[in-house]
Symmetry: C2
Subunit: 472 residues, 2 copies
């Protein structure tokens, strides 16, 4: 039954939809795939109970389509993420139990009635997505149709909702309901790739590698791109004196009266990364990828200082960097992995005391912000993607004025970053394509019933990133 | 005696220079103008005494050239500025008396030995500036030769020094010594304008209008340009979804999968200005100028909400806006001058509740920052040029993360902004070209001996911007 959005419905129809008991699947969308008969059963889920540290694996009803724009996705893999620990530790003021998890890759098993060939003018997946398609979901819902979605700020969609909260059960489960699925989901099937451009073939990639698209790789790429696109970095990248790198100032006719132009040493870009957890490593790999492109096209020289207090994280970062190097295409910049003290020393030594042009803050606490501020130079940028909590920012007005510092705070618009993240994922399978090896971002894949141990180990820093296979 | 920098000098020469008793004027630089014989006398100056509110007009020695790169400038006009009030009120922790003032326009009366035709590879004024030339100085020294100067971040020059502090006597005086003058000064004479481009003729402009270049017009333009060049504003200006407006992301081949592109309503740019003192008015006029250019070339629609709690400042802003309107070229955007409450209301009403895309904060206290934060939308920018003091920033980590807010803090690199500010000054003589009229930024020009009253009136908000004529 094909039905376009906004068409007249009888109250009976609407009630039936809202009970969640009846599926209305677009005939064309199923395209030969039998509607699954699993919908009325139960599934296994990872559930957190307040106040903290209480993770249980339980049975729960399989989620139902309750809105025309919903999709039900059978979870192939679900990630355990640093943000899950905020809830685990009871830091998010949640007083109800919830099904955990916001990072999933899966397969579409049911679609609401909005998914029809005649869904014209809506996000294209409403007319092309099919039951059986492989998809990745960002960790927040985004409709694809409001102002914030249209402009690319998808994490602030008017319908935004985090996956894995009481109002929207998460993905550490066998099934998950995705609202506004035509705007939220990203299809990994090649029939959703434009034929007019080179087609990235995602079918060759491992599920564990694709799972990184749900959060941490786009978030890392966002941290990097916020810094590299900032107008205070533009003079270094393009060799034009501030503020003439932007399109606002190009019409000016008066002269500067200084004949001293930019010199080679002014074109050295020094960037610090504070925090080398999985997102920090993704940020570093993204940064290296973007900078190597710019070094080729713009003659840029760069220096990267990747900082973490933990030896285990530094080793992982070093192994990832070695993998990249042995992968054939060498980076032409300078690169160091450093403890906090060494990082401070290097950021001064490598810059004649000036400090870093930009710092990517990928931790989410005030120690990390303070360190970032300490090593950033005047007119530098702090690109902060760490998930921060209640404490006041550790800065005062006179300090930020005297340093001419810029800050970009906040959540990654994952859905808008997908094309860029997919690009990096394809290029860097040497880093992202493995599990459990020295340079792997993902330590292991475990069954759902190991969730209580996995949370505890992850919380205590005894392991790196873990994925759940809910069918094992 | 012509001498290039770094040439051998006898210890005797150097000692003579450093005593400040002997001038070594480049022969070619004086070019027919007699070296003045005024140098050993005394002059009238405005002097501040700690702890606060103590302004006296006194005699003081005429400043001497003490370094090869110095210039002595005879002050034509000196500004009284909001920043002077920080010292006046004793908020700057200064425990010594000082000669006040950081905004001057004047005439070169003596030059150090670095000013020679053979000053090759240095800022061009070292080889072209002459005694008798009319100049404006930014409120900080900038050498024009260090990394920060070369890249355009001139207010963070390695030799940076504020005018009007104990270490560098200010410009509310008859003469002032400008260090690193070939990098710091901007010549208003047309022989310093490139012949290969249209020549802005500054000779027609009034001295009071040119004085605005020393600080407040470039600072206002900087506030505007920081906002307009930010990558989070780029999607609105150029109609490309974030993050694809920058040059980093353009190589990506994967598809977005959303067919819903930017619509007309997404191309409406709403900007708030918090604070309508002289700098706030300069920021607003600069913004209107830049936006009208963009509206023509990019099809942009804009809305501006200029906010101040004081009725007198709002009236001034309205008079300035009316002047612009009656000047022939009408602005095509929407414009309102508003109280704080009305400003909040409008920023919601005009944006369907989203808030402003960017806010220019031109006050320098936490109330202004808090208001800016309140009216800025998620993924918005706060461009803060207010001079902030010791209090901690009034923001917490969770808030800035959840709002995806960006901040650009700090001092205007006035020297780097000169070409843009000159451009605006030339175009907007209808606003900047008068004194003491309803729409004038400058209320009056008074003799130095009225300084005690002028400071008190300005501090109490009983007048707008005042200039001193030290020869009246
Ligand atoms: Zn995550
Ligand atoms: Zn949306
Ligand atoms: Zn000033
Ligand atoms: Zn300098």
């Amino acid at each position: 039954m094909a039905r376009s959005v906004g068409s007249a419905e009888s109250p009976g129809d609407r009630d039936a939809l809202n009970t969640g008991q009846v599926y209305i699947i677009c005939d064309s969308a199923v395209s030969g795939v039998e509607p699954k008969a699993i919908m009325s059963g139960t599934q296994r889920v990872v559930r957190w109970y307040p106040p903290a540290y209480d993770i249980r694996v339980e049975d729960a009803p399989i989620p139902q389509i309750i809105d025309d724009d919903d999709a039900i996705v059978k979870v192939i893999l679900a990630g355990l993420c640093g943000s899950d620990l905020h809830i685990y530790r009871g830091h998010e003021d949640v007083d109800r139990d919830l099904i955990c998890g916001h990072e999933i890759i899966g397969e579409v098993v049911a679609l609401g009635s909005s998914f029809c060939p005649d869904s014209i003018g809506r996000p294209e997946l409403y007319s092309t997505l099919k039951v059986g398609d492989k998809v990745v979901s960002p960790f927040t819902v985004s409709c694809g149709e409001c102002h914030f979605c249209r402009i690319g700020f998808t994490c602030r969609c008017k319908h935004s909702c985090l996956l894995g909260i009481p109002a929207l059960p998460g993905g550490q489960a066998q099934y998950i309901r995705i609202p506004k699925a035509g705007g939220t989901l990203f299809s990994l099937n090649s029939h959703h790739v434009s034929s007019s451009r080179p087609v990235p073939d995602l079918s060759t990639l491992s599920d564990s590698s694709l799972l990184l698209l749900a959060d941490i790789l786009p978030t890392g790429a966002f941290a990097a791109i916020q810094a590299l696109q900032h107008p205070k970095v533009a003079p270094i990248l393009i060799g034009a004196k501030y503020p003439f790198g932007g399109f606002v100032a190009h019409r000016v006719t008066a002269r500067d009266q200084t004949s001293v132009g930019l010199q080679a040493e002014d074109r050295i870009l020094t960037i610090g990364i504070v925090g080398l957890g999985p997102v920090g490593i993704c940020a570093t790999v993204s940064l290296l990828d973007m900078l190597s492109g710019l070094a080729e096209s713009q003659g840029l020289v760069y220096q990267i200082i990747a900082i973490d207090p933990l030896e285990s994280r530094r080793s992982k970062m070093e192994a990832v960097y070695d993998t990249i190097h042995s992968g054939g295409k060498a980076w032409t910049g300078r690169f160091a992995v450093a403890s906090i003290d060494d990082g401070k020393k290097l950021s001064a030594e490598w810059t004649d005391g000036a400090g870093c042009n930009a710092v990517l803050e990928v931790v989410g606490n005030n120690n990390a912000l303070t360190l970032s501020y300490e090593i950033v130079r005047p007119f530098g940028i702090i690109s902060s993607v760490g998930v921060h909590q209640e404490p006041p920012l550790p800065f005062n007005g006179r300090g930020v004025y005297d340093k001419n510092v810029s800050f970009d705070f906040g959540r990654c618009p994952v859905r808008a970053m997908f094309p860029i993240a997919v690009d990096i994922l394809l290029k860097r399978q040497d880093v992202f394509g493995s599990v459990g090896e020295k340079a792997s971002l993902i330590d292991k894949i475990v069954p759902l019933n190991e969730a209580p141990d996995a949370y505890e180990d992850f919380d205590k820093g005894r392991c790196g990133k873990i994925l759940f296979d809910p069918w094992r």
